[in-house]
Amino acid sequence: MNGPTRSRRVDHDALQARFALRVASRLSEQSEKLPHDLSERLRVAREQAVARARQLRLTQPATATATATAFQVSQGSVALGQPPSGWLRLASVLPLMLLVLGLVMIQHLHDQAEIHAAAEVDAALLADDLPPEAYGDPGFVIFLKQPEQ
């Protein structure tokens, strides 16, 4: 049932395409007959475009090379002749190591300061004329709280 309809449709499409391509070939024929000045202006435009592409092609590799060279130079100054990858890793870990070291130092100094302060108090107590046991006597504490006469 669909056979003849489909066949007619295919014929129609084929004929349409054939017609269209025939029109297109006439258009091509017509476009080849562009006035000389238009053809020349198109040629100049084309040559400018190709020159632009060539120029970009030449400048891009040069830029890439310059960038790569600068990178290698900077790597070399860090590496001092060594392979750069190990130094790069070290350079990235170094700030973290310095931070941890700094924290440890701060903690150590803090502990030292506390110990020093406690030692000073102990030394003052021991060096005083008043025996340390006196501070444990309730009567002495009350005596200290009384205003001076």
Binding site: H12, V23, Q30, L42, V50, R52, A53, R57
Partner: protein
């Protein structure tokens, strides 16, 4: 990746069609030349590293965008949209036998040659005028599909519409051209 020669060859093969296609749209030769030149430069600057096979599609898209930009700049986009909207009024002629017309016109060209027929130059001029008179979207679809020889999907990509729309535009364009050319005497 297209080298200079391949890029040059591609542009050489496409430049006249591109110019005509743009001139049909903007109806101004100087503007069409500027648009084609800008499109060529843009292709060279941005897409010259693409494979040669991709250049026709990319160039077609650049040219379409550049043409639309020109309309925007000229502030006549409204006119273009109005022109596009003519698509909606393209009523099918119920009593016009496309198939018969196509066969007639096709046959007339195949057997062209007798001196009493329209001269070839006149025929080309009539075809040029009738293509130019097509509604913008129909003409664009027709030229991309059959002159630039893009397939339906590629034409849809360049035009920014669906493949179904491309088929509809092409069919209507062929229909209109066949009818117009038959009316001009391009039939047996």
């Amino acid at each position: 990746m297209a080298n200079d020669k391949e890029l040059s060859d591609f542009l050489k093969s496409a430049e006249k069609r591109a110019f005509k296609r743009t001139a049909y749209a903007v109806r101004d030769e100087d503007a069409a030349l500027d648009i084609v030149q800008d499109s060529m430069i843009r292709l060279a600057e941005k897409y010259a590293d693409r494979p040669v096979a991709e250049l026709p599609l990319i160039f077609g898209r650049i040219l379409s965008n550049a043409t639309m930009d020109w309309f925007r700049r000229q502030k006549v986009r409204q006119a273009a949209v109005q022109n596009f909207s003519e698509l909606g009024s393209d009523a099918e002629d119920g009593d016009f036998d496309l198939l018969e017309s196509l066969e007639a016109v096709d046959g007339s060209w195949a057997s062209q040659g007798p001196p009493d027929r329209l001269s070839r130059e006149q025929t080309l001029a009539i075809i040029d005028a009738e293509v130019s008179a097509l509604p913008a979207r129909q003409r664009e679809a027709f030229l991309l599909r059959y002159w630039e020889e893009l397939d339906t999907a590629e034409t849809a990509l360049v035009m920014g519409c669906s493949e179904g729309s491309v088929k509809t535009h092409c069919s209507r364009a062929v229909h209109a051209l066949a009818k117009a050319l038959a009316a001009k005497g391009l039939k047996p």
